[in-house]
């Protein structure tokens, strides 16, 4: 099964708070887990990514936590800002060069950060 399940569908956070978005996957062959950020009218843009050999990756205010045994990973946005308001997608893929490393996306989370 190639599904990636994402929650919540929408999230409202106050400025300065922590935003947490969760994803779960089924295919244990997945070995690449990116998060994409999308602003209205724009295409998704790569935000941060992790491979399963580490349990956490941090880039500035954004952190991915990865739990291989539970087949779950999450995005944490620390000190959330109004400019972070966007739709966030988790995704997963297998690094098979012959098959194009196709990304399977979650359903998306619409994040609103109130000032």
């Amino acid at each position: 099964q190639q599904q990636v399940k994402q929650s919540p569908q929408s999230l409202i956070v106050q400025k300065g708070g922590i935003s947490i978005i969760n994803c779960a996957y089924e295919n244990t062959a997945f070995d690449y887990f990116p998060w994409y950020q999308q602003f209205p009218g724009k295409g998704p843009a790569l935000l941060i990514a992790i491979r399963p050999d580490v349990s956490e990756k941090k880039e500035g205010r954004f952190t991915i936590s990865f739990n291989k045994s539970a087949k779950q990973f999450s995005l944490h946005i620390m000190d959330s800002q109004p400019g972070d308001s966007a739709t966030y997608f988790c995704a997963a893929s297998m690094s098979e060069e012959t098959s194009g490393s196709r990304l399977t996306f979650g359903e998306g989370t619409q994040l609103t950060v109130n000032p």
Partner: protein, 115 residues
């Protein structure tokens, strides 16, 4: 660099009409993809290509066709448009998988309405 360029940005089609969504990238990426985005559904893969002359079906290929005659261009053809094809279409490109900063570069999308 322009990155991934999609044209047109908006289009209204009548049921049964045909059209081609254009996608061009100037990053010399071998891998290219077409996704459609529907509200609350994430992004679904329509077709992908791992190089010129090579294409393959994704998750939702019915009603669409693609070609890849050059590395730069990956047009998506809609034949006999149906209301179910009303969506936002995104083209993306990437290097072969490998390296933590590997990721897709998306175009800005084509919003298609079939009436």
């Amino acid at each position: 660099n322009a990155g991934v360029t999609q044209t047109p940005k908006f289009r209204i089609l009548k049921i049964g009409q045909s059209m081609t969504l254009q996608c061009a990238q100037d990053m010399n990426h071998n891998y290219m993809y077409w996704y459609r985005q529907d509200p609350g559904m994430g992004l679904k893969l329509i077709y992908y290509s791992v190089g010129a002359g090579i294409t393959d079906k994704g998750e939702v290929p019915n009603g669409y066709n693609v070609s890849r005659s050059t590395t730069e261009d990956f047009p998506l053809r809609l034949e006999l448009a149906a209301p179910s094809q009303t969506s936002v279409y995104f083209c993306a490109s990437s290097q072969p998988p490998g390296g933590l900063n590997y990721g897709y570069t998306f175009g800005s999308g084509t919003r298609l309405t079939v009436v």
